[in-house]
Structure formats: structure tokens, C-alpha cells
Symmetry: C2
Subunit: 325 residues, 2 copies
């Protein structure tokens, strides 16, 4: 497992380097300096890793997919920049968000431009199967836009169901991981069965990842997490935990949960009260079970890979489940 961490660290450095160089000598700087600012702000680089590992898993080389790996991270950063404008967020990865560092107009355009360069990078790695690769990438982009729109809808709606929530995170988060695995496998020259298997791995891992994100928000160790615990409740977000709790609750608990919707959030000093409700209703465990289910589904789908490759994808899934931030 230690070797996998080393591999991850090594590839993360390479990806960071590609991203750091990507916009360096482009003009005008008014457009590309803001783009570089966000591309150089760190991050786990999990999506590029999925691209690279998928290419290798089907017999390809990392070398076949570095530009595509950078492309998916650019696409991801494009969504972050525009989402941060829409959420009016101040900080991202410990730094000012792009529209706070610069201004709204710059951030809109820099986001658009990141997407344009993402396609350019993706095209660099495309050869015989350009149409399939770009279709998969474009489908991921479409899903992300739809997911973001659903997420915004949910903020205003009072009656969101758990299954609607799962559809939303499939589109907003999981479709991107699915796409990363798919284009990696396509670029690595995978068979249809391999491509589909890895895509399914990505999709299920993505769902598990997002529910884990919801779980961490309320159950993480505040120091390791780096953010205040219960932020989702404070903002009144309809997360997996919240919707599960709402579906299970009755009486007084239900009234309290409905108040979160009505008042569009709670006060910071109420977080522990709500965490106690979550614990009483068992929704933290429900979330853990759900994460386990989706992770197992992810791992079952790649049964056709050889043991070495299965092992690294298992390591990756385990790391995500056990992450603390």
C-alpha cells in the first residue's frame, strides 16, 4: 500500500507541473493569470489519478493520458470557479476564490477559458477514438451542469427526496469520476467491457465519495477536517444525512428538522443538538452503510481486471472511505 501512496504522490506532482505550465505563456494575461491562480491552488487531483490508473488498468501507459488527466482537472476547476460565484463563496482551498481575488466578470470568463483549454488538452491525447473520448468528456460536462442546476433547485424546494438527492450527486459529482475512468480506459485502448467496468467503478466511487463528504461534515475531527463541523447544517444544505434523517424522523425531531428548511439553516451553536438527532436516528450509520454499499458495487464492477490493478483501485476506494478531510 505504501507503494501506492508513493505512486499517487509522484503522479500528483507531475499533474501539478502540467497544470502549472498549461497557461504560463499564453496571452492575454488578464485571462490566463486568473486561470493559473486556480490551477495552482492545489487539491487532491483525484480525477486525473482516475484517468491515469484507468489507462494503465487496460494495458495502456500513463504517458497516453497525461494531457487528458490535466483536462479533467481543468474541467473540474472550471466548475469550481463558476460554482463559487453562484454560491458567493469567499474561500477555496484556503485561498480567496477567483471572483474575490479578481472580480465576477474575470471569474466568469476565466472559467469559460479553463473549459476551452480543457478540450484542447483532451484533444492532444486523442487519436483513433477521438469521437468516443470527447463524447464521454462532453457527457460528463452536461451532467455536471444539470447536477449543479438540480442542486440549486433543491435549495429552494422543501420536499426533496433521498432518491432525488442521489440523482443530483450522480450528476454533479459521480458523473465526473465515471467520465475520468471512461476516458482513461478509452485512451489506454481498453475493450468495451473494460471501459464500461471502469466507468461503473468511477460512478459508484463518486457516489460513495459524496456521501462520505456529507458524513465528514458532521463527524470529522475539526482539526484534521480544516473546516468547522456542521457547516452543511448551518447553511441548510439538503445532504444525504439531512434527507435520511427527515425521512426517518417523527414528532419533535421532525419539527426540528423542518425548521432547518424553513429558516434556511441553523446557528452554529445548534450543531451539536442536530448531531444528537442524527445519532439518535442512526443516520450516521446509514451513511456509513451507504458508502460501503456503493464502494462494494464499485469494486465488484472491476472484477475483470487483473489482481494488481484491482488492488490499486481497492486501495484508492479504501483511502477515500477512510479519509479525514
Amino acid at each position: 500500500m505504501n507503494n501506492y501512496i508513493k505512486l499517487y504522490e509522484r503522479e500528483r506532482i507531475k499533474i501539478n507541473q502540467i497544470l502549472s505550465d498549461a497557461l504560463k505563456y499564453r496571452q492575454p494575461t488578464s485571462l490566463y493569470e486568473p486561470g493559473s491562480y486556480i490551477l495552482n491552488s492545489g487539491g487532491k487531483r483525484l480525477r486525473p489519478l482516475l484517468v491515469l490508473l484507468s489507462a494503465k488498468a487496460v494495458g495502456g501507459k500513463f504517458q497516453d493520458a497525461y494531457s487528458a488527466a490535466a483536462a479533467v482537472e481543468m474541467l473540474h476547476n472550471f466548475t469550481l470557479v463558476h460554482d463559487d460565484i453562484m454560491d458567493n463563496a469567499d474561500k477555496r482551498r484556503g485561498r480567496l476564490t477567483l471572483h474575490k481575488k479578481y472580480d465576477h466578470n474575470t471569474a466568469i470568463l476565466a472559467g469559460d477559458s479553463l473549459l476551452s483549454i480543457a478540450y484542447e488538452f483532451l484533444l492532444r491525447d486523442c487519436n483513433g477514438n477521438a469521437k468516443e473520448v470527447i463524447s464521454a468528456f462532453t457527457h460528463g460536462l452536461i451532467e455536471v451542469c444539470e447536477g449543479q442546476s438540480l442542486d440549486t433547485d433543491f435549495e429552494l424546494r422543501k420536499n426533496v427526496t433521498l432518491s432525488e438527492y442521489i440523482l443530483m450527486i450522480k450528476k454533479k459529482t459521480a458523473a465526473m469520476a465515471e467520465m475520468c475512468c471512461k476516458i482513461g480506459a478509452l485512451l489506454g485502448g481498453g475493450t468495451n467491457a473494460q471501459v464500461n467496468a471502469l466507468a461503473k467503478y468511477g460512478l459508484n466511487l463518486g457516489i460513495a465519495f459524496q456521501i462520505q463528504d456529507d458524513l465528514l461534515d458532521i463527524s470529522a475531527d475539526e482539526k484534521e477536517f480544516g473546516k468547522t463541523i456542521g457547516g452543511d447544517l448551518v447553511e441548510g444544505k439538503k445532504t444525504f444525512l439531512f434527507l435520511e434523517a427527515l425521512e426517518k424522523s417523527k414528532g419533535n425531531d421532525r419539527q426540528k428538522l423542518l425548521k432547518v428548511i424553513e429558516r434556511k439553516g441553523i446557528k452554529k451553536n445548534q450543531v451539536m443538538t442536530y448531531k444528537a438527532i442524527y445519532e439518535k436516528l442512526g443516520v450516521l450509520d446509514d451513511a456509513r452503510n451507504e458508502i460501503k454499499t456503493y464502494t462494494q458495487r464499485a469494486l465488484r464492477s472491476i472484477n475483470l481486471l487483473d489482481d494488481e490493478n484491482k488492488s490499486i483501485f481497492k486501495w484508492l476506494a479504501d483511502s477515500l472511505i477512510h479519509r479525514t478531510s
Copy 2:
């Protein structure tokens, strides 16, 4: 020539129909209804026409390129939606702009989504040469972002030169026309020479088109134009006419022109004073000559086409030069 107008009208109706149907049954409506709003707001549909005519000019059929034709119009509308946010524009084609009809966040996301669907449509027409077609489209997108950024830079800068202005409109306007002709020719199965010739036609026509736009703003008949004359001066825009006037002027005229920059525009009742300066300096004629030069360059570049096709591209160029709005 009458036949060409009929052909244009017929194809415009078809394009409008494709655009009108494009987002009809997609979910969520919170995302696609705003997208439909802008796609159904009319417009000349010149970019799709360039795609179709280019496909046919190299021996292909319109049928090979309808989805691509819709794609370029979607890309164009994506830029309009985001530009209107940046310019804080209230109206577009006589209707509320998307961010005024809905809100900023909806407009940002609907713009992003239009671009994603544009790629989806483009891919439908791609076969053997998907990589070239999508590269051309992506290059057009990159140029448009860079052009918009330069345009924004110019608003703040006091010392913009005419040649910088030409570079800006090449990127912001002409690169898109270039791309339309290029992908049309690629989808129609054109030779390299044909693809390059048509791309050059599009680029030069695009430059002529933009200078004509600048010229119309001050010299059009207000009724036919549908907008107040001199709007560019009122907004303090650094157009071809303004920069040409600035380069030619001395003494008092120069002082007056510099005031437009300093004060970021003029009052409506000053428009005629400035038009008189333009006329004295001969910059309206300079613009007409420039339009002629670029149009001739456009037509020279397609000398390799047969007479019938040359004739329709000549008709198109002439129509654009003689347009009144």
C-alpha cells in the same frame, strides 16, 4: 440573387427549428428553459449558414452539417449570455437578456450548459475527422474567450492601437466565422486547400463584418438600425472608427477624442459633434475602404471554388456590406 435569399430564408427556418427542438425535452427545466429562451430569440443565423454553405462548397451536403450548424449557433449564444452578464446589458434582440429575465446564477449556468450541448451537437456530425473538427471548434472557443478578455482590457486602457483592435476583433468575432467555414468544409469532406481557403474567407469576412458593425453604429439610418445612433461613442467604446480618428487627429479634435476616453463616453446630445469630427477626418471612408479590402481578401481566397459556389459566397459578402442593421 433572389434564389440565394430564398435559400437563406429556408435554411434559417430549418436552423431555428433545430435550435427550438434542441433543449425541448431535457431536464431539469430550470437549466434548459433559460437555454431555450436565448436559442429562440432569433438572430441572423449567419454562423450556421457559413457552416452549411462551406460543407456544400466542397462537394458535401447541407445534411452533413445541420447539427454542426446548430452547434456553432449554440456556441455563439453561450458567448452572448456570458457577455451580457459582463456588460450588464438589459436587452438583446429586443428582449430581456437572460440574466435580467432570470438571474445571474441561472445565466452563468445556462451559458455553460449551452456550450456543453454545442459540443454534443457537433459530435453528432463528426465521423472520420472528429479530431480535426473538434479542434477547429475548440480553437474558435479559445479565441473568443481571449478576444472577450482583450475587449475588456481595452475598456480600461487609454492607449489602444488600431492593430491591437484588429487583433481583438479577429479573436472575438472573426475567429468564429473562420471556424464555421472550416468545420463546414471539413464535414463536407473538403481537401486541405479547400478547408484553408474557406477558413480564410470566414476570417476576412468576419473582420469586415465587425468594422461594418462599427460603421453602422454611427452612420446607419436610425429607423432601420433599430438602435440609437452613436451608442458606441456614448459608451466610450474604442471602435475602429474611434481609434482611426484618434490616430489621424491633431489639436482640438484630438483633445475632444481624448475626452471620450477620460470620461468613458459622451452624452447623447454630443453624438453629432463627434460624427462631424469623424467626417472631417475621413474615418467613415477609411472604414468603408477597410471593409472593402477585407471583403476582397475574403473573395480572393476562395478563387479555387467553382463559379456557382463563388457566386453565393460573393452574394453573402455583398449582403453583409450593404446591410442596414
